[in-house]
Amino acid sequence: MLKQILLAIVLIAVPVAAFTGFEVYARSTATASGLGDLSAFKAIISDVQALAVKGDLSGAAKRITDWETAWDSAETAIRPLNQAEWGNIDSASDDALSALRAAKPVPDDVNKALAALMAALNDPSKPS
């Protein structure tokens, strides 16, 4: 019984150790990839910003729904890449969504929240 459990532990530990060794080696030679390519997300937010600056807040609110859909459906894919960075963008996203979806959106708040979201997309490592 004990011998079996030890055998199982060894059988699991050996590939884990080999894999970890390889990962550590691979990472030391490559630069951190962060969340990957976020340009598609930035493009949507820059659309929203353009609409908001023109004062078209309802158009901006409509366009940010595209962002919400894209961001939510990408969660499974990008969240594991970097939890903290993903969280920074997600909280900036929540702020921007609530600013635009307020009963009476305040243009100044909307612009600020969108700028913060864009900043988070440009540098996800910085908490907003």
Partner: protein
């Protein structure tokens, strides 16, 4: 898969001393279909959750109801019948994924806590199972009580596999391909242990059963997620539908061949 199976099936005649095992024999097809069921469970849970927009909690409740109905169907069988058995596995896979996602996303339970919690739950299931039945054999599931232990263990292996897989992927920021390779390597190592080093079949079976969950899930994500995140971009609908079709095909084939059926000789 061999002609021996056909001969076995033909010779299955339950006498006074023999009964049918209610769960399948572990064959290559068993692992193939189990792996596909978990892959589909992951992509289908994603699809139901994201696309239908019912919210994680409502989705979990509805799917749990469907699972309960499937298990009633399975428990009403007195022998292994592929359709209800594999429907149960596919639905446990979907519900197990939803429950773990729900605990993490809605209730904010850390993955480390769910991983440890499900490990304890699974260990407790095995301990009570052994104390009650004096065996953990999957070749003599011929009472409703044993079958209940079996399915409870299956449920916890899925929940544990989901939590442990997500934990590894997130904690170490591994992509799905790397996660898949890692779990594939561990499974290969356990297979070597079973075939060459005398690893206990039942211990090996349950360990691999846990580990095929994260392997299948990373495979599903790899197929369904968009190119920009390193996936193949097939989407969750197509991936789920293709896998469901293949699973249905294998289940039909198994039913036709009576593959996986097993009789148990009762001592007393």
């Amino acid at each position: 898969m061999t002609t021996a199976t056909l001969a076995d099936a033909a010779s299955i005649r339950p006498g006074p001393m023999t009964v049918f095992n209610r769960v399948p024999k572990v064959t290559a097809d068993f692992w193939l279909i189990k792996l596909m069921a978990v892959t589909m469970g992951e992509t289908a849970a994603d699809y139901i959750n994201v696309q239908l927009g019912l919210g994680l909690t409502l989705t979990s409740l509805i799917m749990s109801g469907v699972l309960a109905a499937a298990l009633v169907w399975q428990f009403s069988q007195r022998r292994y019948v592929p359709a209800p058995y594999w429907l149960g596995v596919v639905l446990i896979s979907v519900v197990g994924t939803l429950v773990t996602d729900n605990l993490v996303d809605t209730f904010g339970v850390p993955l480390l806590v769910t991983t440890i919690g499900f490990s304890i739950a699974l260990a407790a299931t095995f301990i009570v199972w052994f104390m009650s039945e004096r065996t953990l054999s999957i070749h003599s599931i011929f009472t409703t009580r044993r079958e209940a232990f079996y399915w409870l263990a299956i449920l916890f292996t899925f929940a544990l596999g989901t939590a442990a897989g997500d934990l590894v992927a997130e904690q170490f920021s591994l992509g799905y391909l790397a996660t898949g390779i890692l779990f594939g390597m561990i499974i290969a190592s356990l297979a070597i242990g079973y075939f060459f080093l005398g690893l206990d079949p039942i211990l090996g079976f349950w360990l691999v059963y846990i580990l095929t969950r994260p392997l299948g899930a990373s495979f599903g994500d790899l197929l369904s997620q968009p190119h920009q995140y390193g996936g193949l971009g097939l989407g969750t609908i197509i991936t789920s539908a293709v896998f469901l079709a293949v699973i249905a095909g294998i289940v039909a084939y198994m039913s036709f061949r009576h593959e996986g059926e097993e009789v148990v000789v009762v001592d007393e």
